[in-house]
């Protein structure tokens, strides 16, 4: 006897424990199996691009903090890079190093969050999440030393950084760089070889390299598919061409690979910081720029490798004190393109972890 079944449509979200904010997945289930997914978002849309048109070039820095609110430093960096390209501003050496140090710290913090929440979604009762937050806390303390804020840093300015690091910053940074590898080791001990994690994440949500490139996927998600592409190497900005680091890649592009790539990137970031601390010269931290920057008429696209992928700012200037158009190429938003292809056919529990492994931040998706 054939039992008649009918698909069930469930709204996962906007208030669901594992949607990373206000995000809605309209999912059609056949039993536990996902038939169709439609992401619905925009709940956090604040019109950053429109707001930027009415702010001066420096004031927009504060808006970029609020895009990807777990990695404000890289947002600042991407924006000020675009402005510097547009207006032709030179940056002092010391500022470049400070920028790299702070954005690599931010990358570690962001990847810690991604890993912690992935494990939370796997059902590990908050323990890995708490460990991740514990380590992130130390990084945020460093940010507080650097610029007086922990999340919304507003640290970088066109032409340099806001202010030099205080004296007690350097010993604290050394301590962190020394202690961090063993924390990452500990985190890996809890997760990497755990058979339950392997059973849940291995071969789940496989993304192929061709598909990823065609769908403009960037960041750890792209690297997990085996494509060795990192903007820090491909188009070295700041001082990335003066430091040595590897670009970790995954083997097959499944959820486990995405996790592994993130963990290995944390190690590489520590390597970069270590070398930067050795190399950093004394000197200015900010070149003299007018407070109201008036770039020449034209456009510029500046991008950096943010923890989520390629974060780009496309600025159009009409010669005034505010950008005529400020387009944000947000990696979280564009990585969502493949969501439907990734999720269809998997089970409900897989849906949650695949979605978690894409590591989106709603502030950046909705802008």
């Amino acid at each position: 006897m054939a039992i008649r079944t009918e698909p069930v449509t469930v709204n996962l979200g906007p208030q669901h424990p594992s949607t990373h904010g206000v995000f809605r997945l309209r999912v059609t289930f056949d039993g536990e199996v996902v038939l169709d997914v439609e992401p619905v978002f925009g709940y956090l849309h604040r019109g950053t691009e429109k707001l930027a048109e009415e702010r001066t070039y420096v004031q927009v820095v504060t808006l970029t903090d609020r895009l990807d609110y777990v990695s404000a430093m890289t947002n600042n960096l991407a924006y000020v890079r675009a402005v510097e390209k547009l207006a032709g501003i030179e940056v002092p050496e010391r500022a470049k190093y400070l920028r790299v140090i702070s954005s690599e710290l931010q990358r570690i913090a962001s990847h810690l969050i991604a890993t912690g929440f992935l494990l939370q979604e796997l059902g590990a009762f908050a323990t890995p999440l708490m460990y991740c937050f514990r380590e992130r806390e130390r990084i945020l303390e460093l940010f507080e030393m650097l610029c007086g804020a922990r999340i919304t840093v507003s640290y970088m300015r066109p032409g340099g950084v806001l202010q030099d690091a205080p004296e007690d910053f350097w010993p604290a940074l050394d301590e962190l760089v020394k202690a961090m590898p063993q924390y990452i080791e500990e985190l890996e001990g809890l997760i990497t070889s755990n058979e339950i994690v392997l059973a849940r994440t291995k071969d789940v949500g496989v993304l192929t390299a061709e598909k990823a490139i065609n769908a403009s996927v960037t960041g750890p998600m792209l690297r997990a598919t085996g494509v060795q592409w990192d903007l820090r190497k491909a188009d070295p900005h700041e001082v990335y061409d003066r430091v040595e680091f590897d670009v970790p890649i995954g083997a097959i592009g499944d959820t486990y690979d995405r996790y592994l790539v993130r963990v290995q990137e944390m190690r590489q970031s520590l390597r970069i910081i270590e070398q930067c601390v050795k190399q950093i010269p004394k000197g200015d931290i900010r070149s003299r720029t007018a407070y109201f920057i008036r770039p020449p008429v034209g456009d510029a696209y500046g991008a950096v490798e943010s923890p989520k992928g390629e974060l780009g700012f496309y600025l159009v200037s009409d010669g005034g004190i505010a950008p005529y158009r400020c387009k944000i190429r947000s990696p979280s938003f564009i990585n969502l393109t493949v969501l439907r292809d990734l999720l269809a056919g998997w089970k409900m529990a897989d849906l949650i972890i695949i979605f978690g492994s894409t590591d989106i931040v709603l502030g950046e998706v909705d802008r």
Partner: protein, 147 residues
Amino acid sequence: MAKALAGTDVARRINETFSGVALESNKTDVWVAPDDLHRAAKFLHDDKELDCAMLLAITAVDYVERFELVYHLRSMRKNHTVVIKTRLSGREEPAISSVTDIWQGADLQEREVWDLMGIRFEGHPNMKRVLLWEGFPGHPLRRDFVR
């Protein structure tokens, strides 16, 4: 170091295959007519030398008398970037052909452009608003949008 291909070179290459498609060019950008955009995009994607495998971003800029669409393209194998632009006239629902069949990555971005700028992409499988709700009056990123 990634290289931004000179617009004139790219324009020359495009015109060698489809003559007259690239209207004008300067050091960085190439302008094509909106009707030829799809052809040019397909060529840029398929050509072995240009090899633009990834569509980085689609931006619409509102210059009041016209809209300008900016396509940032990137070759992963050759490590260079190409910028092509096209000008659209008319403020009442200007339309252009979609490039989703060439790059899947255009999917959400074209929806976003439609949502915020009001440029319709013909041939897009799911041309709906993405950030704002259906029934939102107007397209907020336009310069003449009034709350």
